[in-house]
Subunit: 185 residues, 2 copies
DNA sequence: TGAAGCATGTAATTTGTTACATGATTGG
DNA sequence: CCAATCATGTAACAAATTACATGCTTCA
């Protein structure tokens, strides 16, 4: 006799969890239930990690289908979708945060790739310098804002300050780099 | 009467040129005719920009179909494919190098994303620090090697030194960053 | 009250990545 | 002469990007 039918009615096909998945987990962990649009707005403020519009909608769907998020849709109106992290998601997030191994990133900067291949430095520098200065200013402003936050704010965790500091130092390197190329003759 | 048949026998459908395309163009411009495998080996030495194996084979094919490269295949043996840049490709490369506008990249570092979301800094630092130190050492070695090269070497163009210097400065920032996190208590 | 723009989503296309597959070469 | 590894490529899949589509709000 056959054994009882396997319960593959379950929602969770295995899926691969990417950095985007953990991004969503982390945000939902601190924000509670949220719409993709709300996630998008938080991410948009950062400047050191982004996610495309279309992915902000598709990634939570994917995660929900696999059981890492719960999904609830409004009945009337715009039928917005609200997502929240489940215990399964929380567990995955915790593991990821607890695992210290991850690839160190490449530089992968387009402007310096052009430089590498012989582009004329000055025109490049004249475009890159103000862009980098603007980014630096933005990070510095965020850093100051952080220092005046109440600790209950979602972002008021020590890692935030650390990462902003790292961002600031990197932008300073770029600013000096392009400045020097402009000055030279 | 109908006009003469339009010559859509031509090879070139329009394709989008990406940073990978220009990478291939630049390499072929200096290396002359080369196989994907040869390109791969040059890129592998760098550490600041990479291309996956599979793309190193597919990208030149794509570019050749559109007319930016010429393609020649060995008759016997492995039937290697050799590519070379055409005038059309050279023109596209020149335009790209001449255009100083390009997006400034994000930090997009996985380890600091974890930090941002509250991961414990020390275990992260203990993994990241040696990785960054190794990369720094590698860049510095390359930089020294560069200084002793003959100017006829394919890589002996000023941009190379500039980009290595940029890489070195960035890695130093990371090294100090993670060092400090280890020292703290 | 209708135009502008914000909010919300899906579809199509292109890229990137992993996994597989197999032909040559070389050193033991 | 055979095992290891280098060299070469394809197929299947996953992710990112662009383009499209349309419902709500708000303010002139």
């Amino acid at each position: 006799l056959p054994t009882s039918t396997s319960p593959d009615s379950a929602m969770s096909n295995e899926i691969r969890l990417t950095s985007n998945s953990f991004l969503v987990f982390s945000l939902l962990e601190t924000m509670g239930e949220a719409t993709p649009y709300a996630l998008k707005n938080v991410i948009a403020d950062w400047g050191f990690w982004s996610l495309h519009h279309a992915q902000i909608y598709s990634e939570p769907q994917r995660l929900a289908k696999a059981g890492y998020l719960s999904e609830r849709q409004e009945e009337g109106g715009r039928r917005r979708r609200y997502y929240a992290i489940t215990d399964m998601g929380r567990k995955a997030l915790k593991e990821w945060l607890g695992d210290p191994s991850c690839e160190a990133d490449e530089l992968r900067d387009l402007a310096s790739l052009k430089l590498f291949f012989g582009a004329d430095p000055k025109p490049l520098a004249r475009v890159q310098l103000p862009a980098r200065q603007a980014k630096l200013a933005e990070y510095e402003a965020q850093r100051e804002a952080f220092d005046t936050l109440s600790p209950s704010d979602y972002a008021a965790i020590p890692g935030v300050a650390l990462v902003l500091d790292a961002g600031i130092r990197h932008e300073r390197v770029w600013v000096r780099f392009w400045e020097r190329l402009i000055e030279e003759d």
